[in-house]
Symmetry: C2
Subunit: 240 residues, 2 copies
């Protein structure tokens, strides 16, 4: 079974949702048969690379919250994160453009290191003092910590076209699947789960998707197959 | 879009089908958005590791073909392979147990090298003089040629439990999906294509699967999301 998770590194509910989903997965009897793929979604695609700002200021400017409302919102999410055992800095975090992180996550996926990298990016953004919006070298460090080759990661980051189409394609696909917010979970392209649901909702969704039998529309023609009883042999020259 | 291909290295129609599928894919306008995953299927799971035999002898013993019929069958498949531009040795090939190759392919998938490795295994089995059933070192060589770490590949091969469950799970899934022979192609878990179909059938299947809009059964509840308009903030203590 495959679970695709659309999320953004800058999305605190994605960070919380990841912990909840992972708890459900840890208790799922068929967890070894579940493949998780992370898909790109930017909360703030219009923000220029390098244009980062303190989260509390951004909440004020972008959404018109008073400083106290902004701090309350952060404290609230921090409490939810804490309830899942996650560290969360409710003061001093930055907000910025995440496009490069998504490009790097696509590179990491090719290298079999996506899950490691996204976990480190979340931790770095929500729990570490150092900002993830400071430039490429912080991301190169995290890539190396995730088991990627540092030089290769640096090259990906330095080339703005690298994996850019993959990020855009994920975002188009999110829209096609009806997701206008994240986290958004898609199980075997059959079930969609929106939001940082409680662990039991994720558990139920995993069970429901597992039990659902795939129904394929089969396209079969004259293509030859091999089976336990041998290989079909068409008439000589049939294909030539 | 994701295409899963169930196949066996010992399956000549899988080798031919791979070339035909790749031609269709090369002509598919959205080819950059297609991910190919190779799934395990053993034609001869009962055969012990190390128990290899010339293909022509096996065709005689297992299926009761006369030496001439066996040679004709191989020549026929060889002609089909040749029509796709593939080298094919119609004499002197071995047949044996492919379980270890499938385990290695699962390891390669984790490392982002599955497509490279399966291509090399097919070439080695159908076109090279040296047998792929001679022992681990031949497979280690091919793994290294595919870009995998040779020592890591050797470890996987030396541990019979490594990725064994993944191979078995693929095989169970093939049965659940209704595949009793290979190659078997599954597009986005919605369309199934059986056999080494002509290029145009693969092309049609790709187009049909691409155009099909996914319809998700959505499970949504009180899970919080972040969107372009900000993050939902539940009442303080709501989750605690």
């Amino acid at each position: 079974m495959r679970v695709e998770i659309w999320s953004d590194i800058a999305c605190p509910w994605c960070y919380v949702g990841k912990a909840r989903f992972e708890k459900a997965l840890a208790g799922f009897p068929h967890r070894d048969r579940v493949e998780v793929v992370h898909r790109s979604f930017e909360l703030d695609p219009g923000r220029a690379k390098g244009d980062s700002a303190p989260v509390l200021d951004m909440l004020g400017k972008k959404y018109g919250l008073t400083p106290q409302q902004a701090q309350d919102a952060e404290n609230n999410i921090g409490a939810n994160a804490g309830a899942e055992g996650l560290a969360y800095r409710t003061e001093g975090r930055d907000h910025g453009n995440t496009f490069d992180m998504h490009r790097l996550l696509h590179f990491a996926r090719e290298q079999g290191r996506q899950d490691e990298l996204i976990g480190l990016l979340y931790r770095a953004n929500f729990a570490d003092e150092q900002s993830v919006f400071e430039g490429d070298e912080r991301l190169v460090e995290l890539a190396a910590e995730a088991g990627l080759d540092a030089a290769a990661a640096r090259e990906v980051l330095a080339d703005p076209a690298a994996y850019a189409d993959d990020v855009r394609a994920d975002e188009r696909e999110a829209a096609e699947l009806g997701a206008n917010g994240v986290p958004f979970y898609v199980l075997d392209r059959a079930f969609g789960v929106s939001g940082a649901q409680p662990v039991e909702v994720f558990a139920q969704a995993l069970g429901q998707a597992w039990d659902a039998k795939p129904r394929l529309a089969t396209i079969s023609g004259e293509g030859e197959v091999c089976g336990p009883e041998g290989c079909e042999v068409p008439q000589a020259g049939h294909r030539a």
